[in-house]
């Protein structure tokens, strides 16, 4: 008895699964998302999980998006409520006119429902128990049975799901056939007992193209393989552990010598983050490409070493998969909150290179590029992902590699160069770009060796506490950072259809939500030029963009608008002209949120005396 018309939409809605952690639902839910992809319809799924292993609530949300909007949308059109613990909250979260799918084996009192939604009961436990006796089987197949029922309700092609099951259980015939059987149990029950399909439905389309579906962490790890990393040292921490785990898996596949079977890589699970970055620095000092992956608390521990990398000029690559801080914060929620901590990590005057990929494809490219940059600049390079890209599957363009590419090992003096009598001063700025030459240990019997240290030294690496020598060195490091501006990925600008005095700056995982928000803002009559920052130090085009616009919104996922702080600090710009748009509750920022915040501010600008100031 719904007092609201049921929602009706083809290929554009949000389904959310509420499960209990440890119930084995993750693979069924992911299969649901993949099945929709196989229909040629883009999806954007998100895992919302607790920082516990067993028993606590988890949600998996699938945004079905014909238009290809990959940011989180907000709101739920269909709730698959499999967790009694979160029932009330889950039911409350459904959009008016939406659908509630639940296990009706034990009927719920009517007070537990809402009048403005459509309730679909399927006696999942009863169906499962009548078919399976083993408790584990009952639990696992229940998930496949609801997948089957949903496929009927949403009008999905069961062949495509069978195909996926076939791929997943290739060579395991028994598992394959029992999964297909469970799928049809659910599907047939729904077809016989319910009105199928619903207003929400899937229709075959061709909007996926050649795009791939991959997690950012896996893509970044593969970037490290392609980028030539041979040493990885890490310490487990959510949400970065899967980087090292994926690197291990990729290396097993791609990095064993075909003749000897031996590994062309070394992976060490360090005793902590201090050791992990220490191993990276030791390996890089000795000429190997090395990296670590961590998250906020790990960065805190690594900062002393990061200072050493900066000052002693040793390459290092750190992949920081950010989560909500400070301290333990919300370890399984996303944020972009380590910008300042990484940009200025360690004591004394330091500055570090940050790279901000927007999706897995860029995570792959930037990860590979990070090793070139680290060796070219002889310093720490941070690859700044966050949980939202790192741990979720994202549709993105296929990964690409140019086979003619050689690694840029930077300025390394070889034995031959030393033999030719090239003047070697470890900290000599020979080329005027602030980047000195280094030698690897063991290069030459009598030339080119030096003592690496975190203490001040002169251009020939001789210990010195002379003030002018120290200042000279610090100035060269500034020059080197300026050189970095032109080596790192440049910002990408996209202009509004009409000339505008307003701009927006954003970065990283905010990208898909921002792309979508622009459409919503245009519909409200607001025109904005966009600049997506892809690295720190900022390229000169950032300053130009700021100069060309009266007001620039800076959209980011942290409380203190850290990127804005960095821009203000580095560009010496009047902070009033940079308007912070922040979102930091641990959920990914949505287009709706951005459009509302910017739209309201724009409306406000037009009616207040500020108008004068911006004419």
């Amino acid at each position: 008895m719904s007092d609201k018309k049921p929602l009706s939409s083809v290929n554009d809605f949000v389904v959310r699964f509420a499960n209990v952690n440890g119930s084995g639902s993750a693979s069924a839910n992911e299969m649901f998302a993949r099945a929709i992809l196989r229909h040629g319809v883009p999806v954007s799924p998100r895992n919302i999980f607790p920082s516990n292993i067993q028993g606590l609530p988890t949600w998996y949300e699938v945004r079905v998006t014909e238009d290809g909007h990959l940011g989180a949308r907000g709101g739920v059109d269909m709730m698959v409520a499999m967790n009694p613990q979160t029932w009330d909250k889950d039911v409350a979260g459904i959009e008016p006119g939406g659908y509630l799918f639940y296990d009706s084996t034990k009927p719920m009192p009517s007070t537990k429902f809402r009048d403005d939604i459509t309730v679909i009961g399927v006696p999942l436990t009863a169906i499962t128990n009548s078919t399976y006796t083993d408790p584990r089987q009952r639990q696992l197949f229940k998930n496949i049975i609801y997948l089957g029922a949903l496929s009927a309700l949403l009008d999905m092609d069961p062949k495509l799901i069978e195909q996926l099951i076939g791929e997943q259980y290739k060579g395991k015939e028994k598992l394959l056939s029992s999964n297909v059987h469970a799928l049809h149990l659910g599907r047939d029950w729904a077809l016989q007992n319910l009105k199928c399909p619903l207003g929400l439905r899937i229709k075959k389309s061709d909007k996926v193209g050649d795009r791939i579906f991959i997690e950012g962490n896996s893509a970044a790890a593969l970037g490290a393989v392609y980028g030539g990393a041979t040493v990885c040292a890490w310490y487990p921490i959510t949400p970065s552990s899967s980087v090292a785990e994926a690197f291990t898996a990729h290396c097993k596949k791609y990095r064993h010598d075909p003749e000897t079977g031996k590994a062309k890589y070394a992976i060490v699970q360090g005793e902590d983050e201090l050791a992990s970055i220490g191993i990276v620095i030791g390996a890089s000092w000795n000429g190997a490409r090395a990296f670590t992956a961590t998250s906020g608390p790990g960065i805190s521990l690594m900062t002393e070493f990061i200072g050493l990398s900066y000052f002693a000029e040793i390459p290092a690559v750190i992949m920081n998969i950010q989560r909500a801080g400070p301290s333990t914060g919300m370890p399984t929620r996303t944020q972009q909150c380590d910008i300042i901590a990484c940009a200025y990590a360690s004591h004394g005057d330091t500055k570090h290179v940050l790279l901000f990929p927007e999706d897995p494809a860029e995570a792959f490219e930037f990860a590979a590029a990070a090793f070139d940059l680290a060796e070219r600049l002889q310093t720490t390079i941070f690859l700044m992902l966050d949980l939202d890209i790192g741990m979720n599957h994202r549709l993105c363009r296929p990964l690409k590699w140019d086979d003619s590419k050689q690694y840029d090992r930077g300025k390394v003096m070889t034995a031959e160069m030393l033999e030719q009598g090239r003047d070697f001063g470890r900290y000599l700025d020979v080329d005027g770009d602030g980047i000195p030459y280094r030698t690897y240990p063991g290069t030459h019997p009598t030339k080119g060796s030096y003592f690496t240290r975190g203490t001040s030294r002169d251009r020939y690496a001789r210990y010195s506490e002379e003030g002018s020598v120290y200042a000279d060195n610090m100035q060269r490091l500034v020059r080197k950072f300026e050189t970095a501006q032109d080596l790192v990925p440049r910002p990408l600008q996209a202009n509004a259809e009409r000339p505008t005095r307003y701009g927006v700056i954003y970065f990283g995982s905010t990208s898909p939500a921002m792309d979508e928000a622009i459409g919503l803002l245009e519909a409200r009559g607001h025109q904005l030029d966009r600049l997506r920052i892809r690295a720190f130090p900022f390229h000169s085009s950032v300053a130009s963009f700021l100069a060309e616009h009266d007001f620039v919104y800076v959209v980011e996922q942290n409380r203190d608008s850290q990127l804005r702080q960095l821009i203000v600090n580095e560009n010496g710009i009047d902070p009033v002209r940079l308007v912070p748009i922040v979102h930091y509750d641990g959920t990914p920022i949505t287009a709706r949120y951005i459009a509302k915040a910017i739209g309201d501010h724009q409306d406000h600008l037009k009616v207040t005396p500020l108008r004068k100031a911006v004419s």
């Binding site: 393989v225 030791g282 000092w285």
Partner: protein
């Protein structure tokens, strides 16, 4: 601070080793430590051992933490690369360096503050992993560089120069190294070059994690009555288990006293210590035996010196990780990058 450069002039008559290097080729900058510091004697022993072994100096990577002891790599093997890292973290940097290039010799130098306090974890884990290295702790029971605070190896009841009594129990790094599976474990005394030089040489020749704890009195802060790491104290409490020859088939260093006798060894500063010769039945291949031996003597307040344990068939971290023989730092894109064809296949698997 080193202001004075050493003269490059070599006397033509200087003795040469097998590779034609003279003793001077193994020296480094002039030490800036306190004259008479035990650490300088260890430096001298390292120089001696490398000379005896006819090591190519530039094939050694010397890595240290922070402290007076950690400064010493600047004072030997001037033609090799050194890395003075951060406090307590030498082991991880050395581990990384070793992973990058398995062909060099890795010499880790640390202090007792560096290794038993802030770096206790890294010390333990590098040993546990079996990194192929020679890990030397120059153990003076104090923080020298920060002027005399107790370190974690200071014995309970010992007194600082300021008269403070240490109430914490001491950590015995040798006992820990044995427990963690080090495949070469020894203790020596900085002044006992005769014992120390062959120990260092043997440790360098050993494949796997070698650990040597060298008692090294700090003459500035820990060489007073009340300290258990002073010259006098160590001289009275030293109980050496054995003496070693250089293992690698070079001229042996003569062992010039009979089993059961006491050898008096003269220090660089003129002081002397007494070493007791190896117990005739001591078996350095028995880890458990070494542990009990150590514990028994520790209970008597005695410092045991000599080679306590060695596993001649040890392997190392590279063996455990099954890495290629070619140093990882020499591999280039042609051997590391799977290429675009593999990537296309990978892409296809993600649709």
């Amino acid at each position: 601070m080193t202001y004075i450069a050493k003269p490059k002039f070599h006397h033509p008559g200087l003795k040469k080793n097998e590779l034609g290097y003279t003793h001077r080729d193994y020296e480094g900058k002039i030490s800036t430590l306190c004259a008479g510091c035990g650490h300088d004697s260890i430096t001298a022993s390292i120089i001696e051992a490398c000379y005896e072994l006819s090591i190519e100096p530039h094939r050694v990577a010397k890595i240290s933490g922070i402290g007076c002891s950690s400064k010493t790599p600047d004072y030997f093997l001037g033609n090799s690369h050194g890395f003075n890292t951060v406090h307590g973290r030498m082991p991880s940097v050395l581990t990384g360096a070793n992973l990058a290039n398995r062909d060099l010799i890795y010499l880790g130098v640390s202090g007792d503050g560096d290794s038993a306090s802030i770096g206790f974890g890294q010390f333990a884990h590098s040993i546990r992993r079996g990194v192929n290295m020679t890990y030397i702790v120059e153990n003076n029971g104090v923080y020298g560089l920060t002027k005399g605070q107790f370190s974690a190896t200071a014995d309970r009841g010992s007194k600082s120069k300021k008269g403070v009594t240490n109430t914490d129990n001491a950590i015995d790094l040798v006992a820990i190294a044995l427990q963690l599976g080090a495949t070469f474990v020894a203790r020596s005394f900085s002044g006992d070059k005769t014992q120390l030089v062959p120990l260092i040489a043997a440790a360098i020749g050993h494949k796997g994690a070698s650990f040597i704890d060298v008692i090294s009195p700090c003459i500035a802060f820990n060489n007073h009555a009340g300290s258990t790491k002073s010259f006098d104290y160590v001289r009275e409490h030293n109980d050496a288990v054995n003496r070693l020859d250089v293992l690698v088939g070079r001229d042996p260093i003569a062992v010039d006293y009979a089993p059961g006798t006491v050898q008096v060894v003269e220090q660089h500063d003129g002081s002397k210590i007494a070493l007791r010769k190896i117990d005739a039945d001591y078996d350095p291949h028995d880890r458990l035996g070494a542990q009990t031996f150590l514990a028994r003597h520790a209970a008597k307040g005695q410092i045991v010196t000599g080679l306590l344990y060695v596993d001649p068939d040890a392997d190392d971290l590279h063996t455990h990780l099954n890495t290629v023989e070619t140093p990882l730092n020499t591999l280039e894109a042609d051997r590391l990058c799977p290429g675009s064809a593999a990537l296309d296949k990978f892409n296809a698997s993600l649709r």
